[in-house]
Symmetry: C2
Subunit: 437 residues, 2 copies
């Protein structure tokens, strides 16, 4: 992509109402524009990152056996009356009346709708286990939206719903998502710790939040330090394996503020391992048994021919919120440092003299070689001065910067910089391509 034909409206200064660094950097990097309180347009650079995060989340859901569908944003109020949540949900639910005076709502979550889809089609235990997920815009009418996409009102969420014949099988489904989430966040370059959490308006008796530790986190969290550095468990979803992963992680203390028990924390954790920090919730999983299947009559015939309410869980990832969380965890004074897995482009090629045909030719050859190697490239072919180009490249956080100017062309070299470390080398193009990998 040629920057001169792109739409990347970077800002010198963040607006003063942006309080946290991720919000400031997303505005400065031309990734988002606020359209109303808690409602954002995703400008081209922001959308590219959003799409990449979404794709990582999707792939890890599919590896864990979940099947993707897509439910609409608007739902019938009557569906929520069946579960009893229409009146219980409160002012965070955006209630809408259409031209025929029918009551709709903008879905804040989809337990009711997916339970209705399930009961419409699934009649036998032979179709179980089943895990359906979608990635769709949700709306929660937060009283005080803030922190940019971290606490927006219209936000993109991945939500999965598992259906099982009994509690034991449902616990395996829960463990599979527990493992899938550890894999997902690790691929996104995040150290996310699962913590015992309150179940809130979703309900049920078992729930974990996945928390990224960051100074700007909204809530205080407490955990065993060893949990932070544990590696991702990988893709063996055998019931015994996922149970072992679950047991290993939950044997160590970790709890959000609401669930924290100081005495238990001290009893269970050596003093040197006790960590209390601020955290950002990026995922939340629930097992709630028959809470929805019972009132909504989502029943299947078991092997014995007797109808039984299915056992369910739900599993959410805040896809749009993850952009903020990743930036909070990965930036410096110059700007964003994207992990390779979600970067909007793999490489930015910086042309230091667009008036020099030899430099342009060398840049275009570099872009072509990188694209032939499967890399996505932003080519800065603007007539901005070099200092401005370097500042923009640092700000928008592309993992590799490849700079070509008249001196380099004369000597047959390019300058390669790794954004994360600042490490620079002056090498032949072939060597640069090899380093980028």
């Amino acid at each position: 992509m040629r920057l001169s034909r792109y739409f990347l409206p970077t800002l010198k200064e963040a607006p003063s109402d942006a309080q946290i660094v991720s919000h400031q950097l997303m505005l400065r990097a031309g990734m988002i524009k606020q359209e109303a309180a808690g409602i954002y347009a995703w400008l081209p650079l922001g959308l590219r990152v959003l799409n990449r995060i979404e794709q990582v989340v999707r792939e890890e859901q599919e590896k864990a056996g979940a099947v993707e569908l897509l439910m609409p944003t608007l739902q019938l109020a009557d569906l929520w009356r069946e579960s009893g949540r229409y009146d219980a949900y409160g002012p965070e639910m955006l209630r809408i009346t259409d031209r025929h005076e029918r009551e709709l709502l903008y879905g804040p979550t989809n337990e009711e709708m997916v339970t209705d889809i399930f009961r419409s089609f699934v009649k036998s235990y032979k179709s179980l286990p089943l895990n359906l997920f979608h990635i769709q815009w949700k709306f929660r009418d937060e009283r005080r939206p803030r922190f940019g996409v971290m606490r927006g009102r219209e936000f993109l969420m991945k939500d999965a719903y598992s259906f099982d014949l009994d509690e034991a099988s449902a616990r395996t489904a829960y463990n599979r998502m527990f493992v899938a989430y550890l894999n997902t966040f690790a691929r996104l370059g995040l150290k996310a710790v699962p913590m015992r959490a309150d179940t809130g308006p979703i309900g049920g008796d078992l729930s974990h939040e996945f928390i990224v530790l960051a100074e700007t986190g909204e809530s205080e969290v407490f955990c065993d330090r060893k949990l932070v550095e544990m590696a991702a468990p990988g893709h063996d979803f055998d019931p015994a394996t996922v149970q072992a992963v679950f047991d290993e992680r939950t044997a160590l203390y970790a709890a959000t503020e609401e669930m924290h028990d100081a005495a238990q924390f001290e009893a269970q954790t050596a003093e040197a391992d006790r960590l209390s920090a601020r955290g950002i919730e990026v995922g939340h999983i629930f097992y709630f048994g028959t809470k929805y299947s019972e009132p909504m009559k989502a029943r299947v015939a078991g092997p014995d021919g007797v109808d039984t309410n299915v056992h369910m869980g739900s599993y959410g990832v805040g896809v749009s919120r993850l952009l903020g969380a990743i930036i909070e965890a990965s930036h410096d004074e110059a700007g964003i440092i994207w992990p390779d897995s979600v970067a909007p482009f793999d490489v930015v090629v910086i042309n230091l003299r667009v008036s020099d045909p030899a430099v342009c030719e060398a840049c275009e050859a570099a872009v072509a070689a990188l694209e032939a190697a499967g890399k996505t490239v932003l080519y800065d072919d603007t007539d901005e001065r070099p200092g401005g180009k370097f500042a923009t490249a640092d700000l928008i956080g592309i993992p590799w910067q490849l700079t070509i100017g008249p001196k380099g062309v004369a000597e047959g070299v390019v300058e390669l910089k790794r954004r994360a470390t600042g490490e620079k080398s002056t090498v032949a193009l072939d060597q640069a391509l090899e380093a980028i990998g």
Copy 2:
């Protein structure tokens, strides 16, 4: 994807309220489920086709130089007051009030919002031409939603918006989208004819609809028969080339019912070439000059330093509606016949005896070989009887069916069927792979 682990709730009979064949087939093939009048959930098979159509539309937009962003579904009413359309739009606009009594609406289109984004960031003619598009859910509160996804209320639309310094440049932008649309619909296997059309609530003085001819079309259309068989123009977006394509197509008569002039049709078209038919609108493009930029003050400094209102156009494709249009154009009595470019899977592998380990092994080897060749595969590993499997494969319209049973395994052959022609051949697996390509 193993069918036994997938979610494909096919129906023997379509519900009686489904009036047209595409709606009936989408329900029978387990692609959609109605959630409210004109609001649908996309079940896994439907979502796969929707995603593929979306990707074709996206790629053709990008080839024409448009840049993707993503605007939110909800918009501020005040933005629409600036253009004067808030009061003018009527009951099709879904108006919403949030918890703080702010007036919002579910976007039916995005001229106002994109104009606001433009004026917030673009100040100079040097940033032009610019064409921004997004693919997002829209809502139009149709009085009588019907025909499934063909006239839904919540629907997926690609909408692009061009910004140019003057009318001549804006006409080139219009011509580029005209060409991009011809390429898009051709890739989707559709014969779409551009027709002079009314501008309706978008406004402006130049507009074309892209119409697919089908017996179930909603409106009557009139055109020169030669337009139907013209090939796609390809990807040369030079101003002179796109003007020539535009001139070539518009030299022949083609008009929707509202714009039809019988006398002109007869004067301009030889009797044998006069075609009057039913049509489905799948795209609509508009040039409306300064209709939005003037009231909303979207101005840029020209080369002479003088501020000028930008000239705009907008360009819509009904992405979700296209599923219906494609099915209307491509089906038979047994079910859907997907064009290769949008098929949910490239191949379905049908196991005729899942109790036979040798057959399962041969099927799994075929699946692995197809996937290694980059094909997407649905593997029917269910214990359904063969007749049911063949009926499902025909119904859901996968382009290639590869069937393996005990007899074939003994003889070292598979049966390959092309869905579109019904042509069958009994060949070695290698030959089948070669035929699939």
